[in-house]
């Protein structure tokens, strides 16, 4: 901590918070482990899921009427993009494999410029560090 900041009350408060955070967090976590809290959280989850379903259905209809994409439409698009990405991945993997085959074929022709793989002959010498 620099001398200029040593009497800054906000900074002192922040440092106190950082130092005592673990104790406060532990206390909160213990509170969350309480039976009543667990039951309350389960109930909240049920309500949140119910609300989620209710809003999803009504909003989807409302947005469709306004010709605006809903979350479902965005997820559909995201899935389609993921499919395209997956296809690109397969092409990338195939290209890599073809390149490796060509490297093998060109092994006798160094001018082909193919990258050489390192030899797997390293021995376990003691680590200098």
């Amino acid at each position: 901590m620099s001398n200029d900041d040593s009497l800054d009350p906000i900074r002192l408060w922040r440092e106190w918070f950082v130092k005592s955070e673990k104790a406060w967090s532990d206390a909160l976590t213990e509170m969350m482990g309480d039976e009543n809290f667990s039951r309350g959280m389960g109930r909240y989850m049920h309500e949140a899921l119910h609300t989620h379903r209710m809003f999803s259905e009504s909003m989807a209809q409302y947005l469709a009427n306004l010709n605006i994409p809903s979350r479902g439409d965005i997820l559909d698009m995201s899935d389609r993009l993921a499919h395209i990405e997956e296809t690109l991945n397969h092409i990338q993997v195939e290209l890599r494999s073809q390149r490796a085959q060509l490297t093998k074929l060109a092994a006798g022709a160094p001018e082909a410029g193919a990258r050489k793989r390192p030899a797997r002959t390293r021995t376990a010498e003691p680590n200098p560090s």
Binding site: F17, E21, S38, R43, A82, E86, N89, P118, T121
Partner: protein, 365 residues
């Protein structure tokens, strides 16, 4: 001097534009801490080590990192990430990258990273992850490098998947097994156990409604284990705002910490029922496609590294693993640090990484 247009602005607009000008001037003068903060993965330059995609199936992405030495160890090393977290934590930045360190020591490094599941992939459960995806990647590594042996290094739940695969294939390709902060005892995940065994909690309803469990949900569940940690980290950031290196490192960690992947619905169901509630790993009753996952069938050299201050996978959840594994040659190291700082913190380069390299190198020839 005010421009004519500025004079016509409303009083509030005038104050806003003055504040804007003051901030712009401050940034122009290079006052540390006032420059716009990098936010995206590309701005933060995470995952800088060159890599190539080798194999892809469902949510699994297998990458091979470009070796940097002319001579490498015979046995390749496969890092298996947790399905809820992104792999760039192991390749955070130059000089702060486990991947880079292992390459410089002469290891041939692959990583099994995970992509966010699509809606139709909510059917992927523990059996698919262990048998098809981890197994598929191990086969792909063998095809790619031409070696039949492999060293598996799993982080967190990635360690759990790696251990399960090795237990199901004791005579398979796995020559060495390393697990970092890997949970084995569901009873040790105390808070989750209390929540999930509460009569009000219904994993089926959650999965039926949501399909895949969103990343934000996972993030909030993890934050509940230490609710004020993120606020304390923000305070630390403010206290060190003039240190550019600290700010950038903080933002990289912070970005990763909230960048959780969604979990396929079936995997979430399996983990809640079989691991947290049923505690089937410790009870030795877990079955995947009719095969019992008996950790005692693991006989390869085994290393488990746990963190002393791990609040995500506490000692109560991880310490049983070493006893369950059947290997004669097994070791557990408990190191200073937390769940993430153990593998990627500033001190990992002095603590964990050299020990990991020492342990693997004598078994990688």
């Amino acid at each position: 001097m005010e421009s004519p247009s500025a004079r016509n602005e409303s009083p509030t607009g005038d104050v806003d534009s003055r504040i804007g000008r003051i901030i712009d001037r401050a940034i122009a003068r290079n006052i540390p801490g006032l420059a716009p903060l990098p936010q995206t993965e590309s701005e933060l330059d995470v995952g800088p080590t060159p890599k190539e995609l080798v194999y892809s199936d469902e949510t699994a992405r297998l990458y091979h990192y470009e070796p940097v030495l002319d001579e490498i160890y015979r046995v390749p090393l496969l890092l298996v990430m947790s399905p809820v977290a992104k792999g760039y934590i192991l390749d955070l930045a130059r000089g702060q990258s486990l991947v880079e360190y292992l390459l410089l020591q002469g290891h041939d490094v692959y990583m099994l990273d995970w992509a966010a599941p699509r809606r139709e992939q909510s059917r992927l459960g523990l059996a698919e992850y262990v048998i098809d995806l981890v197994g598929g990647c191990i086969d792909a590594v063998a095809r790619d490098c031409g070696e039949d042996d492999i060293t598996l290094v799993g982080y967190c739940m990635g360690g759990m998947l790696s251990a399960m695969y090795t237990a199901l294939n004791p005579a398979g390709a796995v020559k060495n097994l390393v697990c970092f902060t890997t949970p084995a005892n569901g009873d040790g995940m105390e808070l989750y156990k209390k929540w999930m065994t509460s009569p009000a909690f219904d994993i089926d309803r959650l999965v039926d409604e949501l399909g895949n469990i969103p990343g934000d949900f996972i993030n909030q569940s993890l934050q509940a284990l230490r609710p004020l940690q993120r606020s304390a980290n923000q305070m630390r950031l403010l206290n060190n705002v003039q240190d550019d290196a600290f700010v950038k490192a903080h933002l990289r960690f912070d970005r990763w910490a909230v960048d959780q992947l969604p979990v396929p619905g079936m995997l979430a169901r399996d983990l809640v029922r079989d691991f947290i509630i049923g505690n089937k790993i410790v009870d030795n009753t877990l079955e995947l496609r009719g095969q019992r996952v008996d950790m005692a069938r693991i006989t390869v050299p085994f290393l488990h590294v746990a963190a002393q201050h791990d609040h995500i996978v506490p000692a109560a959840a991880s310490r049983d693993l070493i006893g369950l594994v059947g290997s004669k040659e097994k070791q557990e190291i408990v190191m200073k640090g937390g769940h993430v700082s153990l593998v990627a913190g500033g001190n990992a380069v002095f603590r964990l990484w050299p020990q990991l390299d020492q342990w693997i190198r004598v078994r990688a020839t």
